[in-house]
Point group: C2
Chain length 485, copies 2
């Protein structure tokens, strides 16, 4: 599949990065001389963060090309994403240049946040092909994309678009009808207007407002939306009871929003000065890097909880594979090291070597039948012992592979040897593991069900013909002088 | 210190739990027959989540008592937190019952979200002692507390209050002057009103709105506030340039908020039905449990990034100790196992045994001089090898202790043996570790600076007189039949 990116600002470049890192070929058109630089910078950020959301490797990245004209960019494209500045005349000219070269069945999507789809469709020769696909910055990390059409838009086009965007790990929200500002921006706009009053009236500084957000509803809304949160507010009395209590407060002037503040020079100056002070000398690049690292950390945290953006990543990840290869050992992991795994020594912390090995053990036993259903039915493996040798450092962004040898498998006992390989194929660590099959009800060891036992023994027999790892069975050396030891 | 909790609904009980788990004695007064049950339920939730934010143990919990009268509750209290229903007449009666028994220097704080401090102060005999300390639910997890006074309130009282609340891990936001709704609720109210229109107009369902929030600005606002986020939106062009672009959109009807929707029976019914469908049969208790687990996961993720609520937890944690005790070995960790460490087998995942041991290694070397500054100056330890034996399962909420024996220390090599002890003192795991001192510039091994080497050797010499752990130096057994092995 080929993607055309028309307009390569922060949003367009973010789109390009998300498509590229999910294996799509991307062709960019942007007349600005800085476009290629911006594209490279955003791609650098995206490479450092997007693959880090997953515990499996994404497909090999697509090809990135720059086109000299709009026509070159869109020819042969299956998806055209227009992210040009928000000026109708400019978009009219772009669509006129795009449409004659658009292939049958291709989607023409606009990133606009300011125009309704019907306004943009009026600029088109074939209005039924245009939809709005409105993302959030950074596009390569935030999953939400609002898909909006008009009365002219076939429902099939919206679901086709949703399918493609789901395949690059996004969370499409398909709106039934068009509306100014869609959903996300209207809600943000409400907060924005309220904060403008607060700063204007001297109630709080930008830093205080940001602090308040970070320490209260910001945390809530990363894991539970507003309605679910208020549902809890009602407790056992129920949501209806809770809502009924809201009535009176709507009549109160709790908000300034019945009026709009004038964003005059004085207010702009005040906000800018406070924002400068708040940023504490950090550059935009430093803040973006910190933001991406935090987003990765948050989404990974939610992934373990199977909530919100974390659930979205899990769903996407389930479709990824390690790419079983044709060598004798089993490939049990292929993944990129997230920035959140780096410790004070500037390399992957030791505990994550075991996390990687633990996931590799799970992948191996799962391939032998210890699936989620098998575990839910009451049987699993517990680890009895692990021995890790750290041979070379690993770093954020490294794509590692784990290849696993089954040294022994009989009855309740399975003896595994994981080799963690650095991107260049050298051995970065070995993790030797003894696992015991258990009954989860009694927590006592027991033999696996026959199909699992047989699968493990088959692997052990096949791997017995391979050289045994030299360090298998090694202990940590006693360094005391002989006479003491 | 003694805390009086007057009114023990969800908010009052949340306050009580936060104070108790931070070591304060708490006396509760609430005339409702369900108050004690509610208190126990909230305390159960708080125990399962608040200590899990920290990698050190909180102080021993305070005593919880129930008082038969307001006077009994507040007598001798240093802090009185009133969280009664939002009715002025009720609060007037309460303050009349509280004030005669309030000891000198005690703080009378109200959790009100609906009244300004000056309105409440009018109900008091000594108005200058009352402040508003407005928290967010769940009080035991969300750090924000807004501290608001009136013109009558001495600045010293506000900073005294902020100090006490900081000591229980909160993030006090001290407002310079009073304002309806304070900061957090005004911003939430803006979103709330906007979403009411969306549901009323049939633009989106409650579930769609929650999804949109979770997948876009909810993630943003857990780690970076609105102003910092918009600062990034301006990119290199700067915040002033970005703000100037906002002007025109403020004139647009992007928001409905110039008007307030009527929350009539039809709208209540619609929201309630959608919310029921969205909750998918989950009970309030199930949703609260999921919320708390996600909040713990998010705050722990932010803690590693030193951002927002995570930075607040770090600051609080820095004041906690492991309680070095007088036995021969070094106590290198005492902590509670967070819910996020549980795996599919329903117990602490193997990788976290090594995480615990890794932190214990850091605590030991830090106590010997390998401090943040020592590392920043270019020297540290890398782990060469670890051997873990898992002897018994550990579970969410277990308070574990790690006691460390230095088996050998000379030059670049240090050999450690960690014992991970379950709450009842039994041995849950052993982690044997060989660490190497390195030069962080060359990544090559080198001897530690003399004071570090001497400290490690001192410990090794002291520990050499203790029995050597039986399993030290053990390897994972080769289980193959003798003739094969």
């Amino acid at each position: 599949m080929k993607i055309a990116i028309i307009g390569c600002g922060v949003i367009g470049a973010g789109w390009a990065a998300r498509f590229l890192l999910n294996g799509f070929d991307v062709c960019v058109f942007d007349p600005s001389p800085e476009a290629a630089d911006r594209m490279q910078r955003v791609l650098l950020y995206a490479r450092a963060s997007l693959p880090a959301l997953y515990d499996r490797v994404l497909p090999p990245p697509g090809q990135l090309n720059y086109a000299p004209t709009t026509a070159d960019a869109v020819t042969g494209a299956d998806w055209v994403q227009e992210s040009a500045p928000e000026r109708l005349e400019l978009k009219r000219a772009l669509y006129a240049a795009i449409e004659p070269h658009l292939k049958d069945g291709a989607v023409l999507a606009s990133s606009t946040s300011g125009f309704r789809p019907s306004e943009l469709q009026k600029l088109c020769a074939a209005p039924e092909r245009l939809i709005v696909a409105h993302p959030f910055n950074p596009v390569y990390l935030l999953p939400l994309v609002e898909i909006v059409g008009s009365d002219l838009t076939p429902a099939a086009l919206k679901s086709h678009a949703a399918e493609i965007l789901t395949s690059v790990g996004m969370h499409p929200l398909v709106l039934d009808r068009e509306v100014d500002g869609f959903i996300g921006n209207r809600l943000q706009e409400a907060v924005w207007r309220e904060t403008l009053w607060m700063v204007k009236d001297g109630i709080a500084t930008t830093a205080q407002i940001d602090e308040a957000i970070l320490h209260s509803f910001g945390l809530r809304w990363a894991q539970m939306g507003q309605f679910d949160s208020y549902r809890l507010g009602g407790g056992e009395a129920g949501i209806r009871h809770f809502l009924a209590q809201f009535g009176p407060s709507l009549a109160e002037p709790l908000t300034h929003l019945m009026d709009v503040p004038e964003l005059d020079q004085a207010l702009i100056e005040r906000i800018a000065k406070q924002s400068d002070a708040q940023s504490n000398g950090r550059s935009i690049a430093q803040m973006e890097e910190a933001r991406d690292a935090s987003l990765v950390a948050l989404i990974r945290a939610l992934k373990a909880q199977r909530v919100g953006a974390g659930a979205t990543v899990r769903t996407h990840e389930a479709g990824l594979t390690f790419g079983q290869d044709d060598e004798a050992l089993v490939t049990t992991t292929r993944r990129v090291i997230p920035p959140t795994w780096t410790d004070a020594n500037g390399h992957m912390n030791e505990a994550h070597y075991l996390e990687v090995a633990s996931n590799a053990t799970d992948a191996l036993t799962e391939s032998c039948g210890v699936t989620e259903e098998y575990i839910a039915a009451g049987r699993s493996h517990f680890t009895a012992e692990s021995h890790i040798r750290y041979l070379s450092e690993l770093h954020q962004g490294d794509e590692i592979t784990v290849r696993t040898q089954v040294l022994f498998a009989q009855g309740k006992k399975t003896h595994l040897f994981h080799r963690i390989l650095a991107p260049d194929g050298t051995l970065s660590a070995t993790v030797e593991v003894m696992i015991l099959h258990v009954d989860l009800a009694t927590r006592a060891v027991c033999p696996p069900l026959p199909h699992v036992g047989a699968a493990l023994e088959r692997l052990a027999a096949a791997h017995a013909t391979l050289p045994r790892p030299e360090s298998a069975g090694n202990a940590i050396r006693d360094l005391r002088p002989k006479e003491v030891a």
